[in-house]
């Protein structure tokens, strides 16, 4: 009996190991998602339909894009609290260029992405050059970006009148799939390639694990960190673009408190708050867990206050599991 249990435990560990090394995905998160999907399908007849699944994916897309940036930053043992505000600012910047300056529609894309990357690179510059903690710099940027979004928008209101090409990015359905879902998938594939397989990704995880080790082996930690915060800003800009296109307006109040939701998705997906461990695939699973929870509880007509309770509990549980594993590895 004991040897049987031991062999199951051994197989479980082997499976975990393969998921981790081959797919860079934490097996536990995938199983939690699986159980949730089954539970919701049993509890609600409306849950497991194509249109509802697409709804979940669409609702997850903006947070999912933001969570990509959060994963990169957390993996390097950093923190970016500004992404929600940068999302709002980027949307306004993109809308401003096409709706008020009346430039051609591609400038909405360019404006949103450039505004996000610019804000991120300012974060990176201040963190690497002045050594002010990332918490403070990005908390400052949270206020600054939100403020500039409101300043740029006429009377602090939303900017309307976007060209149809841009609206398509938010509301279009090529092949029946919502465009934001396709944008999220493309961004996630690129970021997963970067973090899991490239040299840049390896160095990101290594510096999150031990900055001293990264420095000693000749990794340019400052340059790496600057690029990471710029990428985080860029993903916030992309999320801002998608949000703007979905609501058909550049709204300076968009993305309020999204930074915390993005970080939550990353952590539920197995990315470590203490650096050295992170996976884009995992984060996508994390974002889906939150999406399925919200959608399922909606279908079951559970008041939305309880959804917040449920997500809070899932977050704490995910970090608890993470700590059990991390403390084992970081000892000695």
């Amino acid at each position: 009996m004991t040897s049987h249990a031991a062999s199951i435990a051994e197989r479980w560990r082997t499976l975990q190991f393969h998921f981790d090394t081959r797919l860079h995905l934490r097996l536990e998160s995938l199983i939690v998602l699986f159980i949730l999907v089954i539970a919701m399908s049993v509890l609600s007849p409306y849950f497991l339909s194509v249109s509802n699944i697409l709804n979940i994916l669409l609702a997850t897309s903006t947070i999912g894009i933001l969570a990509i940036g959060a994963t990169l930053i957390l993996s390097s043992n950093g923190l970016d609290l500004s992404v929600g505000s940068v999302l709002g600012f980027s949307g306004v910047a993109g809308a401003y260029l096409v709706a008020i300056v009346e430039l051609p529609w591609p400038f909405a894309i360019f404006g949103a992405l450039a505004a996000g990357a610019f804000a991120g690179s300012i974060n990176g510059f201040l963190i690497t050059r002045t050594r002010i903690p990332a918490f403070i710099v990005t908390l400052g940027m949270l206020g600054i970006a939100r403020g500039f979004g409101l300043i740029l928008a006429p009377n602090g209101g939303a900017i309307y009148g976007l060209p149809p090409e841009i609206v398509f990015l938010g509301q279009g359905r090529p092949l029946g799939i919502p465009a934001p879902v396709i944008i999220l998938a493309l961004a996630a594939v690129c970021a997963h390639y970067l973090l899991a397989y490239s040299r840049f990704g390896r160095h990101t995880l290594a510096m999150g694990d031990s900055e001293a080790a990264a420095r000693a082996t000749g990794i340019n930690v400052e340059r790496q960190r600057w690029i990471l915060y710029t990428l985080s800003g860029l993903t916030a800009g992309l999320a801002g673009l998608v949000f703007m296109a979905r609501v058909n307006a550049g709204d300076p109040t968009a993305g309020l408190n999204y930074e915390l939701t993005a970080i939550t998705a990353a952590i539920i997906g197995g990315t470590s708050l203490f650096g050295g461990k992170g996976s884009i695939l995992g984060t996508m699973v994390g974002a889906l867990i939150m999406g399925v929870l919200q959608n399922g509880l909606n279908l079951l007509a559970v008041p939305s206050f309880w959804q917040q309770v449920a997500i809070g509990m899932v977050l704490i549980l995910a970090v608890y599991i993470d700590q059990l594993q991390t403390s084992k590895e970081k000892k000695a």
Binding site: R202, H203, L205, A213, A214, R215, G218, I219, E329, K330
Partner: protein, 246 residues
């Protein structure tokens, strides 16, 4: 010319003068012991050689090249490796990742994708290096934080030796080891010397230093106090220099 020439190196941390005009030369195929009291400046001096610290004054010439303006990465590729006292390992990453940290081999999937890290090659090479060191490690795909002190030491040594270094600096490599493991480190140092590699050994264990070095340099309060030929000196004399009683 000598492999490594350090000339008049000065280093201050704020108001504290840690190195005060240090001169040091090291030849290929020799083992130099660097000893001194705590705070004498041994580790700081070594970090100015690896490029982790910038010098305030002075020159560092390695293999006939002035390396002052170069960072740790560039100096590693010239052949300067250091095994740090705290080992400087990324503990959640596996053995292969640590050995190749900063120098991961790349390959292009399907010929045209952006280059990715060649983990298969890393695993094979890492295993070869561990075998060459005659060490036993449970698995090279495990995070190094799960290993014992001696096994982690082996990984740090393997990282320093994988890219054909010309100079290997070891900062207290035996401090955390059991007796048998100490023997194997000393054996390794002799082997490196036989291969023509220069070794600088920092250690408080004077027995080890007397046993394995050709030369002993004593650092005291940021200056070179003595430069002794190991077989012409005795431990008593070395200790006197360390405490400033000579």
């Amino acid at each position: 010319m000598s492999l490594l020439v350090v000339k008049g190196v000065t280093k201050r941390f704020g108001a504290v003068q840690v190195l005060n005009g240090v001169d040091l030369t090291v030849e290929s195929g020799t083992v130099t012991g660097l000893v001194g009291d705590n705070g004498a400046g041994k580790s700081t001096l070594m970090k100015t050689i690896t490029g982790l610290y910038a010098v305030d004054e002075g020159r560092v010439i390695f293999a006939d090249r002035d390396v002052i303006g170069q960072g740790p990465g560039a100096r590693r590729s010239l052949g300067i490796e250091m095994i740090y006292q705290d080992l400087a390992l990324a503990k959640q990453q596996d053995v292969a990742a640590n050995i190749f940290l900063g120098r991961e081999p790349l390959r292009r999937p399907f010929g045209f994708f952006p280059p990715i890290v060649d983990t298969a090659k890393m695993d094979i090479e890492a295993q070869k290096m561990i075998d060459r060191l005659g060490a036993r490690i449970p698995s090279i795909n495990r995070p190094v934080g799960l290993f014992s002190g001696g096994q982690q030491q082996t990984v740090a040594i393997a990282r320093a030796l994988t890219f054909n270094p010309k100079l290997v600096i070891m900062d207290e490599p035996t401090a955390a080891l059991a007796v048998r493991e100490v023997e194997s480190v000393l054996k390794l140092i002799r082997q490196l010397k036989a291969e023509g590699i220069a070794v600088i050994l920092i250690s408080h264990r004077l027995n080890d230093v007397m046993e394995v070095t050709d030369r002993i340099v004593v650092l005291r309060q940021g200056r070179i106090e003595a430069d002794l030929v190991t077989r012409k000196t005795q431990m008593k004399e070395v200790v006197e220099y360390i405490v400033g009683a000579h």
